[in-house]
Amino acid sequence: MAEQKERINPELKELVLYRLMSSKLPDNIEIAIGDISGEPMGMDEIISHVKKEDEIGRLIIEMELNYLKALKEGIVSQV
């Protein structure tokens, strides 16, 4: 039986997508997620994974939300 995936709040997903799409990271910068991405990916590919909410997309959403939470709690400003 397939494992039931936790539902992602659509508003939070939109927030992450907005941050990714507006980030304007240079095209030469790529992202590798060691065990699941295989080869490094560009931002367009990352955005596509987030839209699909697949394994990579869900991890990126979790990473961004963790960071936003840390920003909100002032953890990042303390580092």
């Binding site: 941050r19 990714l20 980030s23 304007k24 990271l25 240079p26 030469n28 910068i29 790529e30 992202i31 590798a32 997620i33 060691g34 065990d35 699941i36 295989g38 080869e39 490094p40 931002m43 991890l59 990473m63 961004e64 963790n66 960071y67 840390a70 990042v76 400003s77 580092v79």
Partner: protein
């Protein structure tokens, strides 16, 4: 003399980066007295790892490569160490695994089987790279921000610090890099890099017989 086994497969872009940064550890001026046994490239096989662990008993093991919650992999993702299969070979060792997610289950299992300490990552290790530097990873300053904090951990352990102290030093390096990108106006999207660095720092854990995580 401290004996260190290091595995450095290099069969894809990510492992090529880990291979290159692993070499910086071996060549570090801070570690002239360390006796390295370097399983690099296609030498990073299960047979060679098991043989060395059985016969030479290194003090420290540095694994570089792909991983999963239950496995650490070598060349072409051959499983080198696996939970409840051969993790008993880690007994008495200090281990640092730059291998995704391997602290989640394998690390805990290794500690139960007598490993002194296991430092690793609970979740995926995320690496940003500059594709214009793919052929010269050592000159990739974006990747450097991710891999130098990792190297600091390895060097600190090999200089005799505890796993907890080594992780603390590594996290200090991560914090410096996060601060650099979080406040940077020089590169558009630098906040994405800070986010990934924060993720890696948060997921780095120290497992030991004294405490389950730090």
């Amino acid at each position: 003399m401290v004996k260190c086994l290091i595995t450095r497969p290099n069969h894809d872009k990510v492992t090529e980066y880990l291979f290159t940064w692993g070499n910086k550890i071996i060549e570090s001026d801070e570690l002239k007295d360390i006796d390295f046994f370097d399983l690099q490239g296609k030498e990073a096989t299960k047979g060679k790892v098991e043989s060395y662990l059985s016969k030479q008993s290194p003090d420290v093991i540095l694994f570089n490569g792909h991983g999963s919650p239950t496995q650490i992999c070598g060349f072409k993702n051959e499983v080198l160490i696996e939970n409840d299969i051969n993790d008993f070979l880690l007994k008495g060792k200090v281990i640092y695994a730059l291998a995704c997610s391997s602290a989640a289950i394998l690390g805990q299992s290794a500690i139960k089987k007598g490993a002194k300490s296991f430092v690793g990552y609970k979740r995926s290790f995320i690496l940003f790279t500059d594709k214009t530097r793919e052929t010269t990873p050592s000159k990739d300053h974006i990747a450097e921000s991710f891999l130098e904090p990792s190297n600091r951990l390895s060097i600190s352990i090999l200089k005799g610090n505890s796993a907890e102290e080594a992780s603390r030093k590594s996290k200090e390096e991560f914090k410096k890099e996060i601060a650099k990108y979080a406040s940077s106006k020089s590169m558009p999207g630098a906040d994405r890099i800070a986010s990934a660095l924060f993720w890696n720092m948060s997921n780095q854990v120290v497992l030991s017989n004294k405490e389950s995580s730090k």
